[in-house]
């Protein structure tokens, strides 16, 4: 083991059920460097860092910190070794002051006032040296997102972190705040700290990091000094060069079919005031599948919510099957269904099914108003059960038991049930979020076949997926989203994985 390595992880494997999240991963982080770990969602970056920070125990493999073999069972062990982590979602108590958040769990004295004084005295020189300026007496809820992140870093440093792990630190920052963060991180590196940066923004890697490790599907596919890397090369390594799965050459489609859904100038801010969608324009035509590619968290989920009426945007117009809506009088979900819009949401367990209900009760969710299911407000249980059984047979849901609890089906069978329901009423527009997330390989092709059949029947389909392979396999046209905007739009013939990867990570244009 080389002594100049701050972290040396060898042969780390971790499996969750059927998913091999980490497969014999090796990671070497040299002391006093900024080390980037890049990869798509689900590539295993976060799992690897969780193993290092003691959240998960690895199934196999060794960890050495500063040249010493280490056993990390708990976050406390990691902290004792000098490892600090700044999570993507901040771990702060909003109603306490910044100072109290720093000392929470690391109180140097049992008297609060003395502890506060002592911590404040220790923090002043630390803030001076690092440039991490935070108003210590302000309540966290009054701090800006950038301030909260600086506070998280201060918290880790106060606890003696010499290795700092940052998980997607710029995801929530404005460009200016990101710039300040980089300056701080560089200063910390000058002072001898080691920084591990988890990101999928390749530009940041090129600007900030000394070395980079690329992960894909649980494995390390590349580890190189940044000086010898290029954005294009990293994007290719990150996305991979797999065979396009099951891409069917679609028959020549009529060039201009009817536009069933036209959204224009959509803007949306979330509760924290972060701009999630900005100036977004989108049209969906009958008989096409449009794929929305992008790294998760770039506004795809919000786009789906806006288009199906679950969220009301701050600005914009929508034309759906001939009816127009504005942000002041937006589409409602039940009206969307009446107009022929079906929606397979990303989070099927929270939204698309009622976990506490049996299968046939979940299988009519949103459609219980159909004459087939009710007469003057009375539900026809027999007809609902029969319809559910028909859905289950058509979509090969196993077990085909209408009385089984919705939560008892596997993820793939839950998804097939949702698809069966949403596809069942011959929709004119279909929105699908993550169609095959958590679905076994056997069912993936089955789902693709049904989506294509729907397209061929004249439905307009929008597929949001974080799997580039899926986008390429299904789409006739691809839209790439980055930071709530459309970063590019390409016909499928012009799509390359590397090109899309560049657009996704903001590396293009």
């Amino acid at each position: 083991m080389q002594p100049d390595l701050a972290v040396c992880m060898t042969g780390i494997s971790k499996r969750f059920g059927a998913v091999q999240a980490n497969d014999r991963v090796n990671l070497s982080v040299r002391r006093g460097t900024v080390h980037g770990i890049v990869g798509e969602n689900g590539a295993g970056k976060s799992t690897l860092m969780s193993v290092l920070y003691g959240f998960y125990a690895a199934d196999s493999g060794q960890i050495a910190v500063f040249g010493q073999a280490a056993t990390i069972r708990h976050a406390d062990d990691a902290i004792a070794l000098g490892i600090g982590m700044v999570h993507q979602h901040f771990m702060l108590v909003d109603t306490l002051s910044a100072l109290d958040n720093v000392l929470l769990g690391a109180e140097p004295h049992w008297q609060l006032a003395r502890a506060q004084r002592q911590v404040q005295q220790e923090l002043e020189p630390l803030m001076q040296a690092t440039g991490l300026r935070v108003k210590l007496d302000a309540l966290v809820q009054d701090l800006s997102v950038g301030d909260r992140q600086r506070l998280e870093i201060l918290k880790a440093l106060y606890r003696g972190a010499r290795i700092l792990i940052l998980d997607e630190p710029t995801a929530v920052l404005t460009p200016q705040e990101a710039e300040q963060l980089f300056a701080v991180l560089r200063a910390l590196r000058e002072q001898g700290s080691t920084i591990v940066l988890i990101t999928h923004k390749l530009k940041e890697v090129m600007r900030l990091c000394d070395e980079v490790t690329v992960m894909r599907a649980g494995r390390v596919v590349q580890a190189t000094p940044v000086a010898q890397a290029s954005i294009e090369g990293l994007a290719l390594a990150m996305v991979g060069r797999k065979v396009q799965m099951g891409r069917l050459e679609s028959a020549a489609r009529p060039a201009a079919t009817q536009a069933l859904l036209v959204a224009s100038n959509i803007g949306l801010r979330d509760d924290l005031g972060v701009q999630r969608l900005a100036g977004l324009n989108l049209s969906l035509h009958a008989g096409e599948i449009v794929g929305v590619a992008g790294v998760s968290g770039n506004g795809q989920s919000q786009l789906l919510d806006v288009l199906c009426g679950l969220s009301v945007p701050d600005s914009g117009q929508l034309l759906l099957c001939g009816q127009s809506f504005t942000s002041t009088a937006w589409l409602q979900p039940h009206l969307a269904r009446q107009l022929g819009l079906a929606h397979v949401p990303e989070d099927r367990q929270a939204r698309a099914l009622v976990m506490a209900f049996v299968a046939w009760e979940s299988a009519v969710l949103g459609y219980d108003g159909l004459p087939a299911y009710n007469r003057l407000g009375w539900l026809g249980h027999g007809r609902m059960r029969a319809a559910t059984l028909a859905m289950m047979q058509r979509f090969d849901v196993r077990p085909a038991n209408t009385e089984l609890g919705s939560s008892k089906f596997s993820g793939g069978n839950q998804q097939k049930l949702v698809l069966a329901r949403e596809l069942g009423q011959a929709p004119r527009v279909l929105l699908v979020g993550q169609p095959t997330r958590g679905v076994d390989i056997g069912a993936i092709e089955f789902i693709y076949t049904h989506l294509r059949a729907l397209r061929d029947a004249g439905c307009a389909v929008l597929v949001v997926s974080s799997e580039l392979d899926e986008i390429l396999a299904l789409s006739d046209r691809v839209i790439v989203m980055n930071q709530g905007r459309i970063a590019g739009e390409l016909p499928i013939g012009d799509c390359t994985e590397a090109g899309l990867g560049l657009l996704m990570t903001g590396g293009g244009a």
């Binding site: 009426g309 679950l310 409602q332 979900p333 039940h334 009206l335 969307a336 269904r337 929606h343 949401p345 989070d347 929270a350 939204r351 698309a352 099914l353 009622v354 976990m355 506490a356 209900f357 009760e361 969710l365 949103g366 219980d368 108003g369 009710n374 407000g377 009375w378 539900l379 249980h381």
Partner: protein
């Protein structure tokens, strides 16, 4: 709300309540023994007092009638995802509605018209009293638990004020209204069975028991057979799924609380129209809170609520007998027993269910091993 941790359905529905009840009785029996009484004797008096004679059964069912109304009220709100603690106040207001209708109209209307009017008045008053917290929850975000508790106090004070200052006939000391005319009296079970030529002892039990059972049936139909009930249950089980399905949660909150309040408001039909024949102070006397325990124990299902109501009715009736029969045993001990039952069938279910599941799994494993052992032996042989 199913605390079943991998329990099979039969065990969840049958074994678990029985085990919970047994644990509660054992705990209560220990306390009884600690104060120097014979638990077995107390238990015997309790059971025979509640169920040992037609008169005992009659009283048990009378108490159960009120608990069915309040238990149903809690359960309908619960299916809509709301914890309605205000059954007490809604029952008071419902009784007030029933009583006011009777005081106003009973001298001039016949019974066949009067009783339905009293029923509707009771339901409407209860509904209105629940609608205010419901509105505050749905459209203003005030938590329904807090507001319904407060509304219990307001309802109770309102009833006292009205009885003391407005409804009490001049020159009387008792805090109660004048008696209703005969047309506002719900026939007792003794009279009703007498018409059929059957003999039944005198007791407060009256025809509102049938009303309570009808309410159970209607609540079942509503929750599981109508679109509106389906929407209510979706909102209660998964607000996110409800929004996705286009079901507005605010309307469902209003609906759930309105039905809940109306059901609680029917308590007056049993206590006012069926028994006292006048409006008085303590006609609810905690039944609204007992309804929470009843709904909890009955798993928020109408059938379960009937069983739980009879159980609690038996505890009330049997407890009164024990206090009367056993020297040195106060009614407070019975209240303690009720407390244990609420504790073990409500809160402690989450402790007992996993233990029971573990036990069943162990038993099943032992059964398999015994089954497998001869087969393995045969192979070797």
């Amino acid at each position: 709300m199913s605390p079943a941790h991998g329990l099979p359905r039969w065990a969840d529905l049958l074994l678990l309540p029985v085990v919970c009840l047994a644990v509660a009785l054992a705990a209560a029996g220990t306390v009884v023994a600690l104060v120097g009484q014979d638990p077995l004797e107390v238990m015997l008096v309790l059971v025979s007092g509640a169920l040992g004679s037609p008169r005992g059964i009659s009283y048990t069912l009378y108490y159960a009638t009120t608990f069915i109304f309040t238990g149903l009220a809690v359960s309908v709100a619960f299916h809509g995802g709301l914890f309605n603690i205000g059954g007490e106040g809604q029952a008071i207001l419902g009784g007030l509605g029933t009583g006011l209708a009777a005081l106003w109209l009973s001298p001039s209307l016949p019974a066949w018209l009067m009783l339905p009017i009293m029923l509707v008045a009771g339901a409407l008053f209860g509904m209105a009293w629940a609608a205010i917290p419901a509105y505050l929850q749905a459209y203003r975000g005030s938590h329904v638990v807090i507001t319904t508790i407060m509304f219990n106090f307001i309802a109770s004070s309102l009833l006292v004020y009205l009885l003391v200052h407005q409804l009490r006939p001049a020159g009387t000391m008792a805090v109660e209204s004048r008696a209703f005319a005969e047309s506002a009296r719900l026939p007792s079970m003794r009279d009703a069975l007498g018409w059929l030529g059957l003999d039944w002892p005198t007791s407060p039990l009256n025809l509102s028991l049938l009303l309570a059972l009808l309410a159970c049936w209607l609540v079942y139909l509503f929750l599981w057979r109508t679109r509106a009930g389906y929407h209510l249950r979706v909102v209660g089980a998964s607000p996110a799924a409800a929004r996705y399905a286009g079901i507005g949660p605010q309307r469902q909150v209003m609906l759930a609380m309105a039905i809940s309040g109306a059901l609680a408001g029917l308590v007056g039909m049993n206590e006012i129209a069926g028994v006292s024949g006048r409006l008085l102070l303590e006609f609810v006397s905690g039944a609204g809170f007992t309804g929470i325990a009843v709904a909890l124990m009955g798993r928020n299902h109408p059938l379960g609520i009937v069983f739980a109501s009879v159980l609690f009715g038996a505890l009330f009736q049997g407890g009164a007998e024990v206090a009367f029969e056993v020297r040195g045993f106060s009614r407070n001990m019975v209240v303690m027993l009720q407390g244990f039952i609420v504790l073990f069938s409500g809160a402690m279910v989450y402790v007992i269910a996993p233990a029971l599941a573990w036990l069943l799994a162990r038993l099943a494993a032992m059964g398999r091993r015994r089954h497998a052992a001869p087969a393995a032996g045969a192979e070797h042989g």
